[in-house]
Symmetry: C2
Subunit: 331 residues, 2 copies
């Protein structure tokens, strides 16, 4: 049997109510009594039972981080890893613990959303559907969307300015004198990919460069697919001299492909990525990329959620982080 509030009360010669106060509202108990209680508690190695407390207060001190299952692996996903790192740290700092799961984990075979574990709030990352959002709302669980936008009344979202980031990097390529710029676009989150692609198209237009569809490839983020796309680019009469890849992973694979084909980076072809993963500095030459402030995204999401969980109104519905172009040896 573990030691309860009653044991402490007995030994300290007070009622359990007073012990309870000593731990929740220390200022409401006479300093003398307080000290005594704390002493006894330490002596008995007592610490309040979080579950019983949760039961009374109806707050668990837990928040859920739910990722779109297609994004798996979550933890070793170089994008969400950094977000998670910040989320965990920020959550811990304000006294919350984090549950990580996928939308699949919380969906029953029947399609119902299961809130099996009690959480005081949730962060929904990536393309979680609106049904999930609605279910949480119905259960009065505050929600913050991360890296996703949904036009739902009063919904809080934390997103990155994809268009701006892509605009920056493509413009950088143009400024370096490139006129034949290829793009390898991923096929994931359309919300993100479209913004990045649109920026590419716009920059070309702004600079009077005609869009050449031979230079536009949509690829899966695996080496085979990227290699095939790169080969296709290389056999064209007018090879592109620069390559904007929609994600670092694609860029890395493109670099591998180019190196194998004996193409010099950046002299023959410059390569740029997006996200600024840790891969960027692992490869040689190091990869120019657009740094997405995942730390800020994670922190912002937790902070908004925190206010929401405390019952505060949060005016600013959408937080948009500004990415930053990082120029390295590949361009």
């Amino acid at each position: 049997m573990s030691v309860t509030i009653l044991d402490v009360a007995k030994v300290a010669g007070v009622s359990k109510a007073t012990v309870s106060r000593a731990f929740t509202n220390p200022e409401k108990v006479k300093p003398q009594t307080l000290q005594k209680i704390l002493e006894v508690a330490k002596e008995l190695n007592y610490s309040p039972n979080a579950i019983a407390r949760a039961m009374k207060t109806n707050r668990t001190g837990n928040i859920g981080f739910i990722v779109y299952a297609e994004q798996k692996p979550i933890i070793s996903n170089p994008f969400y890893a950094l977000v998670l790192e910040a989320v965990i740290e920020t959550a811990n700092k304000i006294g919350y613990s984090l549950f990580i799961s996928t939308d699949q984990d919380i969906t029953l075979p029947t399609g119902e959303i299961m809130l099996q574990k009690k959480v005081d709030g949730v962060i929904l990352a990536s393309q979680i559907d609106s049904k999930t959002v609605l279910t949480f709302r119905k259960n009065k669980v505050p929600v913050v969307l991360l890296n996703n936008y949904m036009d739902l009344d009063g919904l809080h979202c934390v997103i990155n300015d994809e268009y701006y980031g892509a605009h920056q990097v493509v413009e950088h390529l143009v400024r370096r004198g490139h006129k034949r710029i290829g793009i390898l676009s991923g096929r994931y989150n359309p919300f993100i990919c479209n913004h990045r692609y649109n920026a590419y198209v716009d920059v070309l237009k702004e600079n009077g460069i005609e869009l050449n569809y031979d230079y536009v490839h949509s690829v899966e983020p695996n080496f085979q697919d990227v290699y095939a796309a790169v080969k296709n680019l290389l056999i064209q009469k007018q090879r592109p001299t620069a390559l904007f890849c929609n994600s670092d992973m694609i860029a890395i694979y493109a670099m591998k492909a180019l190196i194998r084909e004996g193409v010099k980076i950046p002299d023959d072809i410059a390569v740029a990525g997006f996200d600024d993963n840790y891969y960027c500095t692992v490869v040689e030459p190091e990869l120019t990329s657009v740094h997405v402030d995942r730390e800020m995204m994670g922190t912002a999401a937790v902070n908004i959620l925190h206010k929401l969980m405390c019952g505060e109104e949060v005016e600013e519905k959408t937080v948009i982080t500004k990415p930053k172009l990082i120029i390295r040896g590949s361009t």
Copy 2:
């Protein structure tokens, strides 16, 4: 107010005990009644309150994953990311959720270990000290050590056969005809580093190659440090022709350094790493490494913990995973 077991009981025309049974021991209730209850529950959108349940059963359905704080970043640590991935998945499969924190997070300024959040069991990863282990034990919380060994009565550990792995890879280098083999050793977890280093020394001895301390470098896992060590190796009259790096990260940095110095890999110098991170296939040439089965380690830890939490005895105290040499282009 959320809907409780009592609401369901009333509408279904049974007692709350029966409703409770319907959810915990469905076979103990008449099929007819069961169906009725389930219907009503769905209709009322009822789901059992996990906290109240935890309070009664004294089991939370949570397990803690605690990492040595020096290992930070945890999530984006390419070693623990994969362990965690497996741990989360396995835990979810058996109905548990995971809390992630560092030993620092659970240690009060006074040095006391705080079990703030109730967990049914913990996995302690990396160099957690024995005091932490003892604290959990004292509180009857089952413990499993991961990637760490401690000679504590009846303590369960999951470790990797570091010596075997290092032996494999160095032997591979010898078989490829290398006689001058350098080593870049990390300065982290001595339990691990020593095993790897010892294997290196032994393989040389087994093959009649004299240990040359000019080829032995201890480095921090950052580019500057590794670059300096590599330069030092390159200026020796008798350059090593192969390099065994104690971790992939070090190997990657060594490769970058060699490429910058115009050294051809593997023709001039072969490079091998350890762990088989995802970095290995990102670089060109791809890195020969020793695959540590982190998935297995994570799964094993959870499975042992699961049995322990169910009150079962687990005979096998130490699970040792066998790593596997993966030969790639760098050797």
